[in-house]
Symmetry: C2
């Protein structure tokens, strides 16, 4: 089988590819397991660091139909659609957000539909689809009231993916990822970028700005567990999901204060002093509009697994992304 | 002020235009009332029957950017966006539904955004945005889980309209119309077409097929009241709505059996014998997925008014659309 990963040059895309190479197959024993012959990593920046004949790196704009059409063909069985403009950037550049987050997704669905064999499309959605007055506990079917363009765009694609799936054009599944922490690399334009930065930078002995107050609650998942969930969500049969095939993935609910406490426990108090508290009302407004408590019964019944706690998340980051330099 | 009505050749569009001509103004006394200088009726079929210098009839495809751009200019203050592909047709022709119901709406929002003066855009949405497992009582903020392409497309446009409004590009409002009954004219491809046909045809001495069982519950509004609600929704200030500016309009909840009873009361038992009961599972499935009970407190607090009961609806049809021929 051939697998396409859009956003394949990003850190989640590369990590997913590495995991798939190690697995060698996709599917579940009860219905169908298939050998992975080819993984195409499609992104505007080339995915580097792979030395495996199964990996094909293609550089291009996900919003360019012709290029996109070249990476989807009759052998394409599964697509992990991770390419996106992140939240703060989608808020700053409305047109870019719509064009990458909505138009490119729809064009991808259309290309899949034309294949005729109903490929699997795994869409990375976001908890930013929620907003406004929320119930005490958020469920998969809680009303969507996104307060950001990013959230609106993800909600629109979820609706389209569900309808393309209901019509039998694709076998789509959308997974609402918690905020991914700890991301390796540099800060990005996501409003939640600090949720990685306040751990990652101090662990590297660098200063990091925290734009929200310590009482803000985040809903987090490690990159490692996010990858496991995307693969698990791929491997389930379509019937497991019902309609709409949209699932909130299980995160860890933690306050910024608790995150800093864990940082202190893992790396010492000196690390926590590298956090500079400098509130940014625009970021705080977005973060504060996201839900705090979640009903994970559907995800759990389907076998999705989150991280044990925030300390496991930090230790996973140190192991996966920092070598074994710190403890 | 200049007013544009898309779908202006349709029966709601023409009726809205006639009502606006009689009113002569739009707006509310507390903030701003403006004289209507021009009403452009834009549709693929020319709107006929007007003899008023304020009416401009333009024939064109709402999905053709160039034509659409010609009917929106710096003086366009308000747009009633009624043009749509109806439910059964959107289900049959997926591409046509997406292109008219989603793409044309978005193109309209873009043209409005370019004007720079934040025109009012009144979007006729539908209760078909709901579906699946519903709470006992449906509220404006009940989760959307459309089970039809039409419902998905309306939900997508609601999301986009809300975001274009939040960003200050347009002053958008979306009103979810109950099923309009009794529509004059011919049956159309809406799944709910029978909700007019089983009254209209027998009143005209003609046979009509009812594709659902008598226990199905419909949520209905007369064309007359729908027009009043669209105008009321236009005239309210943006601040009245909050975010998202999406309102369920007040309908009348009635079973198909009760509708037939009213027909018998108004036109005699012989009229009811003109209904041929012939279940259509595809139509019944769509109708049955729509909600039955509604919380109308938000609409009522904003001053929207529905019909008194189904008998008033039938009598309004006879008065408005049939002359005074029957009783």
């Amino acid at each position: 089988m051939k697998v396409l990963i859009t956003g394949g040059g990003g850190f989640l895309g590369r990590r997913l590819a590495a995991r798939l190479l190690r697995l060698g197959t996709l599917g579940n024993a009860a219905s169908h397991v298939e050998k992975i012959e080819r993984i195409t990593l499609f992104d505007k920046v080339p995915a580097s660091g792979f030395d495996d004949p199964r990996i094909e790196v293609v550089t291009g704009d996900v919003n360019d139909s012709a290029t996109l059409a070249q990476v989807i063909d009759a052998e394409t069985a599964s697509i992990f659609h991770l390419a996106a403009v992140v939240s703060s950037q989608a808020e700053e550049d409305f047109d870019l957000g719509l064009s990458i987050n909505v138009d490119a997704s729809r064009r991808l669905f259309e290309l899949c539909r034309k294949l005729g064999h109903r490929p699997k499309v795994i869409f990375a959605s976001s908890v930013a689809v929620y907003g406004g007055a929320l119930p005490d506990v958020v469920r998969d079917d809680t009303a969507l009231a996104p307060k950001s363009s990013y959230g609106v765009q993800k909600a629109v694609v979820e609706l389209l993916l569900s309808d393309y799936s209901r019509k039998g054009f694709i076998d789509g599944r959308a997974f609402r990822l918690p905020t991914i922490s700890v991301r390796p690399g540099k800060p990005n334009k996501a409003a939640s970028s600090f949720a990685s930065g306040i751990i990652r930078e101090p662990l590297n002995g660098e200063e990091s700005v925290c734009p929200v107050t310590p009482d803000e609650i985040l809903w987090l998942m490690s990159p490692r567990q996010a990858i496991e969930c995307l693969i698990h969500g791929h491997d389930l049969d379509a019937e497991a999901f019902g309609q709409p095939p949209v699932i909130n993935l299980p995160g860890v609910s933690v306050s910024v204060r608790e995150m800093v406490d864990v940082l202190g426990k893992v790396a010492g108090e000196s690390a926590t002093r590298l956090i500079r508290w400098q509130a940014d009302p625009a970021v705080q407004r977005i973060i504060h509009s996201w839900p705090r408590r979640w009903d994970m019964s559907r995800a759990q019944a389907l076998g999705f697994e989150g991280d044990a706690d925030f300390e496991s998340i930090v230790r996973a980051f140190i192991k996966d992304d920092q070598g074994s330099g710190i403890r």
